[in-house]
Amino acid sequence: MQTRREFVQSSSLVGALAAIGLLGTEQALAQAQPWNKAAFEAKNLAEVVKALGGSAPAESKDITITAPDIAENGAVVPVGVASKIPNTQTVHILVEKNPNALAAGFNIPAGTEANVATRIKMGQTSNVYAVVKAADKYYVATKEIKVTLGGCGG
């Protein structure tokens, strides 16, 4: 469950504007676009978690990373993250050896499953981390993905 405060913070602008009909939903959404620059520029797991506002994440077996053991093409690596930790609020996908570690972050509102999948780029064989925030605590799971052809050349 999100607390009321978090819910209000995360959805206040979008929700309020859309609800009173001043703006179409799309316009409201386009105006509320946070982007955590510090987190996306961080180089490693510890820096990213710090930039997200947490401290040392605990290892968790309740987070599953679904990805191939060996990715033939680093430009397109399918990665899914599922968290069984109750009240999962955010899911972040990190690649240890990419120039900037953080690849993607997802906010999971109540009612949405903490199970997202996307495709990322990997420069080389590396550990991939899934960082999950639940009840304001951070958890992490790790999986190594071997890359036979790097994704940085394009």
Binding site: V14, G15, L29, Q33, P34, F40, N100, T112, T118, I120
Partner: protein, 103 residues
Amino acid sequence: MPDPMRIRATAQPDGVDVRVLMSHEMETGQRRDGAGKLVPAHFISNVTVSHAGKVVLSAEWGPAVAKNPYLQFKFQGGKKGDEITVTWVDNKGETRTDKATIA
């Protein structure tokens, strides 16, 4: 105007399964062109999916998301015939919104 997204949303017993395929270059800013100059970064930074006026997923992406990004997730509370809205914004301020009906 960027190309439209392909969105597939299907109602299943345990929630609505949403799959989105966006059309975007997702340039990392690390790559050099033929003349050895860095190609400036150009990537989708924010994605928002909403259903019935409520945000069901929002994402912040970096340039390490693969070209023509794919996104899949599942949410509760939707039913067949409902409309979902997907919006992305990239780091140059371009944006695209597409709607789909839950099947």
